[in-house]
Amino acid sequence: MKQLNYKFVIKYILPGLFLAFCLAIPGFTSGYMLRVLNIALITYLCVLSLYVILGMCGQNSFAQAGLWGVGAYMAANFVMKMGAPPLAALLLSSLGTAVFAFVLGFAFFRLRQYYFTFASVGLMAILNGLFMNWNEVTGGALGITNIPSFSIGGAIIKSEPGNFYVIFFICLAAFFLMKVLFNSALGRSFMAIRDNEIAANCLGVNSLLTKSIAFGISGALCGAAGALYAFLAGYLSYQTFTFQQSTMYLIMIMLGGTMSPSGALIGTLIISLLQEWVRPLQNYMQFIYGAGIMILMIVQPEGIFGGGKAIYDKYLKHSKTARTEAD
């Protein structure tokens, strides 16, 4: 057995190294880069929510940035008007957004396929209109200022590195929850709906309920992301939670590949960092960014991770089966 155990390397050593690297990040990055990463990780939660509803359940939603906003404003209100501790606000707003999304899903998922997508475009516009004009709850166009930082049991987390660890661990938890969901009966029923709704029904899957649950779970992720954003930014305004933001999530997940949480992470990081990399271009930055998206899509229409997985299946899995046959 001179052969290296690929499975072991891929399953444990590489992720372990990656984890160690991530934990060390605050040690060698600047405040700016860390801020970018923090926002990217919060965005990752929203992209994961799109992974649940689009990648697993096959329903494309443009309302995710709206749900993100719902979570953010909920958290701000819980903390500032009701005096809830941030941790409780995080959980409550995640739960609240989940319920909100679930109820809406129950209404919207009577629509099939792209009609739901259309409805989600409408929902996004309606939510943005509310964020801008509902003075009592969202502070209107001026937004909400002076939102306290995140804290756990009295320990206030104000610095970027502190926030990084909090957000990182929540993302990690979400990542593993996705893995659990993927292997659960619920996850399988999502995927059955994605692949063929009628066949799924014939296996006892209630599509309306299941899709609503998927939307609810995506709402929970967006809600958590919203709360984290509120605590990190300290300021909320309508100009953050826009349709453009939702389309960016779609770009991210399409680029990374809709089929895995890791792909979503890669897509999120590429787009988030691409936006910052093109900064030195100043006036040309968005132009090159747009062209970059086009080129990336043309080169890798199935998403970058889609390609990666194909390579994994082709070479690494092959060597594994070869080995079992040799045994």
Partner: protein, 256 residues
């Protein structure tokens, strides 16, 4: 119409005067038959005679225009699709509909999921049952963590039946299970159907392969243009002039 069923047994599934029309086309006209536990019931007819439509009506994909479908004495015509699956009506498709981007284990687990939803208590025996089924289907050598795309068409069809059987259904509807399969694979299908019969599941079989239908079905019914033109045991059907005219025609020898 002669019936060979045991009169002391209650039918599991009963169709009473089921009608369905699409625009001007009558897809099912006054169809009635009953299925008993552990029985293999054949449904044959030329292309476009309404066989698959009938399965779609039983599973609820289409709603019936009139008539009733009774499972264990309960009319289920108003039940949505997923609830019909949960009370024990499970089907396969002409072309297997599996989770294309998942591994084999996930696909099989969908059957277990349905069993859980049906509250079948023997989950501890699940592994054992799966092993038996996979062996019967000739799928013992496959790696369960492989992608579903690694399986041949025939194996995928087998897998779909295994998945259906894992949920311990009351009624199993097989839509052309043997189409496109070779002899060896056909024998696995027979294995699986035998397994179903042993578990007292009633099997409704749509099939074009005449020798298979004639050899394993206890009773048959023949459809033509949505009409039930004959019912009975295989030997009777084979001699029925209406059937020969409508379906087998002069090409019966070619069929074999």
């Amino acid at each position: 119409m002669t019936s060979i069923s045991n009169t002391q047994k209650q039918p599991v599934l009963k169709l009473i005067n089921v009608c369905k029309r699409f625009g001007g086309v009558v897809a099912a006209n006054e169809i009635s038959f009953e299925l008993y536990a552990g029985e293999i019931f054949g449904l044959i007819g030329p292309n476009g005679s309404g066989k698959t439509t009938l399965i779609n009506l039983i599973t609820g994909i289409y709603s019936v225009d009139s008539g009733s479908i009774v499972l264990d004495g309960k009319n289920i015509v108003r039940m949505p699709i997923h609830n019909r699956a949960r009370v024990g009506i499970v089907r396969t498709f002409q072309h297997p509909r599996l989770l294309g981007r998942c591994d084999i284990r996930a696909n099989i687990s969908l059957g277990k999921d349905l069993a859980d939803k049906r509250k079948i208590p023997d989950t501890d025996k699940y592994q054992e049952r799966m092993g038996v089924l996979l062996e019967a289907a000739g799928l013992t050598n496959v790696d369960l963590s492989d992608s579903i795309e690694k399986l041949s068409y025939g194996q995928q069809k087998m897998l779909e039946i295994v998945r259906a059987l894992l949920s311990k259904p009351k009624v199993l509807l097989l839509d052309e299970p043997a189409a496109g399969l070779n002899r060896k694979e056909m024998s696995y299908i027979i294995n699986l159907i035998d397994f179903a019969v042993k578990e007292d599941i009633c099997v409704l079989l749509i099939e074009h392969a005449m020798d298979l239908v004639m050899s394993i079905c206890q009773r048959l019914t023949v459809l033509n243009f949505g009409q039930q033109i004959a019912s009975g045991i295989p030997s009777e059907i084979q001699e029925n002039p209406a059937v020969i005219k409508a379906y087998l025609g002069g090409s019966r020898n070619a069929e074999n």
